[in-house]
């Protein structure tokens, strides 16, 4: 089914009484896919016959934007497709995702990028923006077609070899210099491969020592973050640090920001809540890269997200088919699902615990990810004239995660059976409802 076949919500819609991203209760009037009025008097401007949606008790956020998603298409359509992954995104409250480049083939040419963009448009649940590879085949040797990807229909602005680190300092420097001309940013998977060897699969510490698992030391991340921060300063270019996982990285970022260096950073929901001790039973569902860290790191990440040292939350949604996870721990695939649970995790850890407001959630999960990715049609807030990308949240709802109900093709869900506080009620992309209570529009018959 193409987006054109779907009914578009053209009739005006009035959402009443929702808390507008922490700014207090108000109404939102949506006309022709845009926000036509917002606030206390929006209802007065509603045309005759406008549909009403009761938003009382709900939080209205600008549509969520995920800077770090793996959609597996092309190459591993058995694990996820752009259709299923973007459906999961919509169910999770997202209206845009950035699809990482480590597909097969790798997104390292304009043609590959445009193909992903087109498939996203056809699926129609969220805007799917391809991330371009920094280097050809993610090999950290030759630059990918950065400029052609930027000039393509997909307008690529975020480049990443995610899954691998651009570990060669000279290549990283050249890439940073090159993307400056079109305002690109490099999202770095910070992992020094000489410090965290190819089999590293567990935070290096007491538990990895006891379990006999190859350790992934925090310094392997921190040393690359420190190097890249200095390269960003040297080149005057933009670096974004993907999935920050240690307190040491936070210290480096805090210093860098104080120096005025143009660096941004993301943290995943799982690094905000799950800790390395979950690995004691060798369950590969908890195997992720970078690995889950100890509680001290988790605390530092929460604090850094709350005070803005870490700019945004990104899911690192990484679907895998069953058999790729059912190997011995060191052989199992890295990664966990995240799109459908991200908002609930952030709500539980940060909002319900009083560390962040809903306005902070709007900033860290919509406005700033869109700004970092230079998206013009997303993350603009609930302001008049902005596209009606709106996510309604039920802040008090208790969500017991059930892996079986996911829109994703995969089931590697570390949250299964956990109770979280706060859930996505409704997602709207340019005025059209894309998901409601976890069910995506058009998903069934």
């Amino acid at each position: 089914m193409s987006a054109d076949d779907r009914p578009t919500n053209t009739s005006p819609l009035l959402i009443t009484g929702a808390d507008l991203a922490g700014a207090g209760a108000g109404d939102l009037l949506v006309v022709d896919g845009r926000i036509a009025a917002a606030g206390a008097d929006a209802a007065d401007q509603a045309p005759e016959g406008a549909q009403r949606y009761h938003g009382e008790g709900l939080i209205a956020l600008p549509g969520l934007v995920d800077l770090h998603t793996h959609l597996r298409e092309p190459g591993r359509e058995d694990a996820e497709t752009i259709e299923t992954g973007s459906a999961a995104a919509a169910a999770g409250g997202f209206t845009a995702v950035l699809a990482m480049a480590n597909t097969s083939p790798v997104t390292d040419t304009a043609e590959n990028a445009e193909r992903i963009w087109d498939l996203g448009q056809r699926a129609g649940y969220v805007d799917v923006h391809p991330v371009g590879a920094v280097t050809k085949a993610l090999a950290s040797e030759e630059l990918a077609e950065l400029g052609l990807m930027a000039r393509s229909r997909a307008r690529v602005r975020v480049f990443s070899d995610d899954g691998k680190c651009v570990h060669d300092a000279r290549v990283m420097r050249r890439a940073l210099e090159y993307i400056k001309s079109f305002g690109g940013v490099i999202s770095q998977h910070s992992q020094d491969p000489t410090l965290a060897g190819s089999s590293a699969c567990c935070h290096e510490g007491e538990l990895s020592g006891r379990l006999g698992l190859p350790g992934w030391p925090g310094v392997a991340e921190e040393s690359i973050v420190a190097r890249d921060v200095m390269l960003a300063r040297h080149t005057g270019s933009r670096v974004h640090v993907a999935h920050v996982s240690t307190a040491g990285s936070v210290e480096v970022l805090r210093w860098a920001k104080a120096q005025g260096i143009d660096v941004t950073a993301e943290v995943t929901p799982h690094h905000l809540l799950l800790t390395t001790d979950l690995l004691s039973g060798y369950d590969p569902v908890f195997k992720v890269n970078p690995p889950l860290r100890p509680q001290e790191d988790v605390e530092a990440l929460r604090e850094a997200l709350a005070d803005g040292t870490i700019d945004i939350v990104a899911t690192d949604h990484a679907p895998h088919v069953r058999q790729d996870k059912e190997h011995a721990f060191v052989d199992a695939a890295f990664g966990m699902l995240g799109l459908e649970t991200a908002l609930s995790v952030v709500s539980t850890v940060m909002v319900a615990q009083g560390r962040m407001t809903w306005a902070d959630v709007a900033r860290t999960m919509s406005t700033d990810p869109a700004r970092i990715a230079q998206l013009t049609d997303q993350g603009q807030g609930l302001t008049v004239g902005a596209p009606a990308n709106i996510t309604l949240i039920d802040p008090d709802r208790k969500v017991v995660v059930d892996a079986a109900t996911s829109q994703s093709l995969s089931r590697n869900n570390p949250w299964h059976g956990r109770e979280l506080t706060g859930g996505v009620h409704l997602t709207m992309l340019r005025g059209r409802v894309t998901a409601r209570e976890g069910l995506v529009w058009g998903a069934s018959a």
Binding site: G209, P217, G281, P284, E326, H327
Partner: protein, 318 residues
């Protein structure tokens, strides 16, 4: 007790029970007809994903002498590339209806994962750099035969701790039995987080073998993997042998009653000199001999049904 995955699963009483049973099993080993009917009709698979002639034949003999039907299977290194998952592989075997799988795998934790996926009893016969519980039990057995109760005894474990599953099981076994343990190795061969670990478990750490040896009742020399030598863990084999090897000169530092263990295979001239390996106080061959008895005891405790009814402890406070 259904599985033996880690020494941590065993209480002190359970360890002692296994060691005590092994004493009588050891006697069987010296009979002309080495056959007990205990496990008649039970089926045991030795599923070795990684080669180990010594451990496999020891388990195989243990099963046969207890009259179990035993089958050996070898898995390929890893089936990741072949599309079949480890779970699929063991589910296939499980579906044939075996009672026990004895698993040797190059990946830490594989037996624990397999225990989640099957119904049969799982024995960890060595997993990656994690554990080798039957080895630790036979080591404790051998030391106990010579030294008596290990409570309060001082044992030094020396060498490549990071990559040693023997060390991980031994340290748990010995401390559970009340022995004092000192680990001796260069910092590069001590596992991650050993400081916190040692503190939590009351273990001593040292880089000075000469200072430790005069205080021990037993010293266990661990094998240095040849491939570690060029991996930057220590400068040269010569430096290692001089600093951490049980040389002939160091034999003189040991108290007269102290014993020497090595789980084998030995690098003579590296972690242990020929003189030490063949010394009167060396228990290296006793360890091998005890291996079958210990494994018979393990199989007996896991497979002979509920704890035999002749125990009177039922219902007593515990």
């Amino acid at each position: 007790m259904k599985h033996l995955l880690s020494i941590a699963d065993l209480s002190r009483d359970e360890i002692n029970e296994i060691l005590d049973t092994a004493v009588s099993m050891h006697e069987v080993q010296h009979r002309d007809v080495k056959k007990l009917p205990t496990l008649r009709g039970r089926t045991i698979i030795n599923f070795f994903f990684e080669d180990s002639t010594r451990t496999r034949s020891s388990f195989e003999l243990a099963g046969k002498w207890l009259s179990a039907d035993t089958i050996n299977l070898t898995g390929k290194g890893t089936s990741v590339s072949k599309g079949e998952s480890l779970r699929d592989t063991v589910k296939t075997i499980d579906a044939m209806g075996v009672d026990m799988m004895i698993i040797r795998h190059m990946a830490s934790g594989a037996p624990a994962q397999i225990a989640q996926w099957t119904n049969c009893s799982i024995v960890n016969a060595g997993d990656g750099t994690h554990e080798h519980p039957s080895q630790a039990l036979l080591d404790a057995y051998t030391m106990r035969q010579r030294l008596g109760d290990l409570e309060g005894r001082h044992v030094a474990l020396v060498g490549d701790l990071t990559h040693s599953r023997v060390f991980r099981s031994n340290v748990l076994c010995l401390t559970t039995l009340g022995a004092k343990v000192t680990l001796v190795a260069p910092a590069t061969l001590m596992p991650a987080g050993i400081g916190a670990w040692a503190q939590a478990d009351g273990i001593e750490l040292s880089h000075d073998l000469d200072a430790v040896l005069p205080t021990v009742d037993a010293v266990m020399m661990l094998r240095v993997q040849r491939e570690r030598m060029s991996g930057g863990f220590f400068p040269t084999a010569r430096e290692y042998a001089v600093t951490y090897g049980l040389t002939k000169a160091r034999l003189g530092l040991l108290p007269d009653h102290a014993v020497i263990c090595h789980p084998g295979p030995m690098n003579r001239g590296l972690e242990i000199s020929g003189d030490a390996a063949d010394a009167a106080q060396s228990l290296v061959l006793d360890q091998v001999s005890a291996g079958v008895a210990i494994r018979m005891s393990i199989l007996y405790h896991l497979l002979s049904g509920e704890r035999s009814g002749d125990q009177s402890g039922e219902g007593s406070a515990s």
